[in-house]
Symmetry: C2
Subunit: 483 residues, 2 copies
């Protein structure tokens, strides 16, 4: 497979010895959008959850003056009606909007997609294009032996960041061309030869600086897996466990929070974002380096079986079925709160009086997060995912999109501004990683011999370092500024 | 449905207004075993995990002098060969043993059942009886659209306790007739009209004092659900969370362990076993009663959504598929350790210098466990399970079989002497309950208004109290003595 476009320049880049075709985005490409979206007069963005507000507003702003209309479709009586109006988008009843559109971008919650997709398909005009922002619907239909209708294009543009960051970095892109959230594109059905350019146009229009190719199948696996892993679930579980460990070892609450969480969301994420993962290890010396390597080794080993379990659950369809089932249960039992523990109350205070210059990189915390991150990277590579997807789903989405929100507003805000599927996954898998740290990692750190020479060597020479360096060249070094 | 036997007396009992047919067991019925098992010369017990050693030895002892032979079947080269020989049972290669038996009791691990059942079916003699100790195999075959062969009886006898307690209480039954672990029986296929009596004979022979009827479908749901709930998973998660809370509130480690765990495995389990759940509430007065009711209310509400999720996962087949998938992963990643946290190290010390008379019933701990227990009971009732099954899967198995082992030897011993399916479930769901307590229950207890009048009233007038009283009459008040 290779991307082929009649509109945008496709580049071949080499990542750790493998070749991938990518498009580098940016505002300078906006004049090409009418050509890329030729034949599309009306784009319907359906839903107003995490991605809906971001993509609808970015599309509208990027397409200003082109004559392409962006409309929002919602359930009649949806509580989001006023929010969409306040954002300057006139919403309409979703099925009417779908019937009138040339490109239907379906961003309703996954469980709603599972319940409503037949009605959606019935309303889409033959020859129109169905756009998805991840592969969930394909996975659900596979589990019930169903398929997309044959007479439409089916494409996906999957931003590797939650909706609020897709919007925020796009806004920052007005000052710094190329600031934005990377995206993967997948062309699943192409009935008129235009599917790839429509997908690339959509990705450019929402502000993606780096656009790489995947399949719906690979996308859903890496996406649902990644958010249950180090992007959200594992990250949450790990910082909870670290806070507990540091308080048990005698730290006062604010110091423990600083070591466990401020360190991860501040200097750790910043170092990885600016200089890569290896720079984290290189920033330590002597005893601290040894502590980093011990925490790295123990966490890599403890998290790998959970990550393998998550991948199996996603691949087998179990995780997809669970999300669909949860849709019913959520009507009776609303989603639980996750930012309510003692730790996050301490966090509110610590954040309020924060001095960024004063937060140190803690070697235990850094090692724990990096060990889990590398385990996730190795597992995705073993399962055949391309490097662009691996790097975005394991590293870039974390440090450049999600963690900055956790740094500014706490874990609850970060998690709950992602999709319902991601939120459910965090609540399900976060506690598994937390227990694993408590039961398997910390007892090993308290004994001798936690450092695993082979794992540490593999880390030093890991191909991910070159991959991150290469991908970092494609966009400006601009940090998201959470408002 | 009603049990009908040509050999044993079937009684109709009334439990909370519903009628069930049951058989009350005991050693005085052993002389009837040859009649119940007429036509069976050889019983094959396949596997040597949790139930295998217990059932094989109990059957051999009960059938001594009758001419019915009990043989054990193992994989060639199994590491359990020596253990089976040491227990006085001559093991043979499992497929050879199956081919030579009239009753094949299949007690290999669930994942192995899923992988080997076709070979097992191919070896069972037409007209023979296949015996299961829970409904897992049915659930797995349903998920792959397969079925049992038609020419054999298919029955289940499902002890409501882990293997070591099935053996231990049987041994105590030599002194006190009727001491034993309750069991459900299910007749799934009856090709010769003898299936029910064979099942009842098997149940009586392994020492079950109270034998009630179920179906394989109801059995697997309540069993896999119950062990993920208050029997193992929830119980483990709850005591971990309680220990953390008490230490955070300032208790020294040994005091915190005593309040969180000793209280639950000691006086709480003993009170429920001897006097029922309501007696726990009645043992508190004033502020302590208020604390109990607050913890009860908050825990009931927080655990119900997780319990509903577990029930959905089991019913949909997801949980069964997960266990089968785990079978493959366990070859590469052995089961994690769960009794390794700081808390259980403290526990070793506390248990070593224990003074039983000195452990108080803590109202927070008691309320938390009872709230989760009642949520589980209500959920099973809503899903149509009979009271005997509900009471055994939510209360009796906990207080009379599992918890005494946790009291004597810690959580790791208790959990890891159950089936692989149960052990996996504890590692999967325990952390969910632990997080739920930390995130949802304790913050509510720290604020006002945690007591829910409706829930407390419902508890006071709950039908489970009469059900437990009725079932308790069927066997002697003998506590399991863990050696």
């Amino acid at each position: 497979m290779a991307l082929k476009s009649n509109v945008f320049d496709v580049e071949t880049i080499e990542l750790a010895g493998t070749k991938e075709t990518v498009v580098k985005g940016g505002r300078h490409l906006f004049p090409k959008l009418p050509e890329a979206l030729a034949g599309i007069q009306k784009i319907a963005v359906i839903g107003w959850g995490s991605q809906g507000p971001a993509q609808a507003q970015n599309l509208r702003d990027s397409l200003e003056g082109t004559g392409v209309e962006v409309v929002v479709g919602l359930r009649a009586g949806s509580s989001s009606w006023a929010d969409a109006e306040a954002a300057g988008l006139n919403p309409g009843e979703m099925f009417d909007v779908i019937a009138g559109a040339d490109l239907v971008i379906l961003l309703i919650a996954d469980a709603a997609q599972a319940n409503l997709y037949k009605e959606v398909f019935a309303r889409i005009r033959p020859g129109a294009t169905l756009g998805l922002s991840h592969g969930f619907l394909l996975a659900h239909m596979q589990s019930v032996s169903d398929d997309f209708p044959s007479g439409i294009n089916v494409i996906a543009v999957c931003p590797k960041g939650m909706g609020p960051s897709v919007r925020r970095l796009y806004e920052q892109g007005r000052e710094v061309d190329g600031a934005g959230i990377n995206a993967s594109v997948a062309v699943h059905q192409d009935v008129d030869g235009r599917a790839t350019d429509i997908a690339l146009g959509w990705a450019v229009a929402i502000g993606a600086p780096y656009i790489f190719e995947t399949t719906l199948q690979n996308e859903v696996r890496s996406d649902v897996f990644g958010e249950r892993g180090i992007l959200l679930g594992a990250l949450h579980g790990i910082v909870e466990s670290l806070y507990r460990r540091f308080t048990e070892l005698g730290d006062a609450p604010d110091k423990a929070f600083s070591r466990a969480c401020e360190c991860v969301t501040g200097p750790l994420a910043r170092t990885i974002s600016h200089e890569g993962i290896k720079a984290v290890s290189e920033s330590f010396e002597g005893d601290a380096k040894r502590t980093f390597e011990e925490a790295y080794s123990a966490s890599y080993k403890a998290s790998m079986p959970i990550l393998a379990e998550i991948y199996d659950e996603v691949s087998s369809g179990n995780e997809i079925r669970s999300v669909v089932q949860a849709g019913e249960r959520l009507k009776k039992f609303p989603m639980s709160e996750i930012g309510t523990t003692r730790m996050w109350k301490v966090g509110d205070t610590v954040r309020a009086k924060r001095d960024e210059t004063n937060v140190e990189l803690d070697p235990t915390s850094a090692g724990t997060v990096c060990g889990t991150m590398l385990a996730q990277i190795d597992l995705l590579f073993e399962r055949g995912h391309p490097w662009s997807e691996i790097a975005n789903e394991s590293v870039i989405e974390a440090v450049d999109s999600l963690i900055p929100y956790m740094h500014a507003r706490g874990v609850g805000y970060m998690v709950d501004n992602c999709s319902t599927t991601a939120r459910l996954g965090t609540r399900k898998w976060g506690p598994r990683f937390e227990s694993s740290m408590n039961q398997e990692v910390f007892p090993v750190l308290d004994s001798e011999g936690a450092r695993d020479d082979n794992l540490v060597d593999a880390f030093q020479n890991h191909p991910i370092h070159q991959v991150l360096e290469e991908i970092a060249k494609t966009r400006p070094a601009v940090d998201i500024s959470v408002t």
